[in-house]
């Protein structure tokens, strides 16, 4: 019988294919592991603040929440807050609780129906417009949405003036 493939060539093929298989598994695994940050879904950062019922129509409410920032295996928690208001119970607005002038926390003056910053006696209207004082722009707004009767926000100011 004529041997078309010599024993030596056959064994070389076997060795080459086994090496290729091992190399493929190790190389593929390593590549996937190394490149995995590129495929990781970005955390949008929506934070649950509370029930929509905590915000009544007309008067703004300051709600506190815990912000959890993930950094690899670490989670950094910070307490933070925002002013919420609604005119119809469905659409909500969230204001950054810092005055746009120098970052002082402001409060709601129920009699004048205005936000009042104590640092330089600035006042803002209920929709965030500057009524008087030094602030250069209206109150900063946070993105806000309602999911199953729960308020969620991203505590990062949108560009000023945008809703």
């Amino acid at each position: 019988m004529e041997n078309e493939v010599s024993r030596r060539t056959f064994l070389q093929w076997i060795i080459a294919s086994l090496s290729a298989a091992i190399g493929l598994v190790l190389g593929g695994t390593g590549t996937g592991y190394f490149l995995s940050p590129a495929f990781k879904k970005e955390d949008e950062g929506w934070i649950d603040v509370g029930s929509v019922r905590e915000v009544s129509r007309g008067a703004p409410v300051k709600l506190e929440f815990t912000q959890r920032k993930k950094d690899g295996w670490m989670t950094v928690e910070t307490r933070s807050s925002a002013w919420f208001l609604t005119s119809n119970g469905r659409d909500f607005v969230a204001f950054d609780p810092r005055c746009t002038h120098l970052g002082c926390p402001y409060r709601w003056d129920a009699d004048k129906k205005q936000f009042l910053c104590p640092c330089h006696t600035a006042t803002f209207a209920v929709d965030g417009r500057v009524v008087s004082g030094p602030p250069p722009r209206p109150l900063d707004r946070f993105p806000v949405k309602v999911v199953r009767e729960r308020l969620q926000i991203i505590p990062q100011a949108l560009e000023s003036g945008k809703a």
Binding site: T29, G30, F39, G72, M74
Partner: protein, 224 residues
């Protein structure tokens, strides 16, 4: 085209002669299960390659500090793509390494392959065995779980039993008076910097001598 490229490359690097010397060596006639005994050295080398690759990947996410060691490994296990597989390879590869290296050493010992003129190869091999033991001892601490901590406590305490010098050896191993942050970073430095450098050095020497002397014959009875 490929053949032309390879011959052009050969003119400039002489790789064909290198390949002949490394891979097309003459080796002793062996058959059956005895032939498998001659694969243990190559198996150790493959395991080292796997350990080096997976180790490099793990080091991208691992932090050798008591605050972060355990959590960073849990992150590798749960969040990194293929992380548990890569760590599994490193974990099992480590155990296999000790087993294969021990078997390789027994093969050489029982076949008398360490004798003249191969004493240098044997001594480089013994150094490699020590380095592998060092890898095992230092790597075992890195997960920083209960098993790791107490195994290293036992290991360093044993070393501290040496007469007179014992307490100093213990302190040097631990990097201080107690087993803690300093021990972990010290063990990590040994595991990823010192020992790999030594290993590469001795593997180079070992392999050069293996190629230089060739593989020794299987010992036979006189009447055979």
């Amino acid at each position: 085209m490929i053949a032309k490229f390879l011959s052009e490359l050969d003119e400039r690097t002489g790789w064909k002669k290198v390949k002949e010397a490394l891979l097309d060596r003459r080796i002793p006639e062996a058959s059956g299960w005895q032939a498998w005994l001659y694969t243990l050295g190559s198996a150790s080398l493959l395991l080292f390659a796997v350990q080096a690759l997976t180790g490099m990947l793990l080091a991208m996410n691992y932090v050798p500090s008591p605050d972060h060691a355990y959590d960073s490994i849990r992150y590798i296990e749960r969040e990194v793509l293929l992380g548990s597989f890569v760590r599994g390879l490193h974990h099992w590869g480590a155990s296999f390494m000790v087993v294969i290296v021990a078997l390789h050493m027994l093969r050489v010992f029982f076949m008398g392959a360490y004798k003249y003129p191969r004493e240098g190869t044997w001594m480089a091999g013994v150094a490699l065995f020590m380095v592998v033991m060092g890898f095992s001892f230092t790597g075992y601490l890195l997960p920083w779980d209960q098993k790791a901590y107490w195994a290293t406590a036992v290991g360093t305490n044993i070393a501290a039993q040496v007469p007179t010098l014992g307490p100093y050896i213990g302190k040097v191993l631990k990097g201080g008076d107690v087993l803690g942050a300093l021990t972990l970073s010290r063990f990590y430095a040994f595991h990823v910097l010192v020992l790999p450098a030594l290993l590469i050095l001795f593997v180079g020497l070992h392999l050069f001598l293996v190629v230089w002397h060739g593989i020794s014959e299987t010992p036979r009875r006189k009447d055979q």
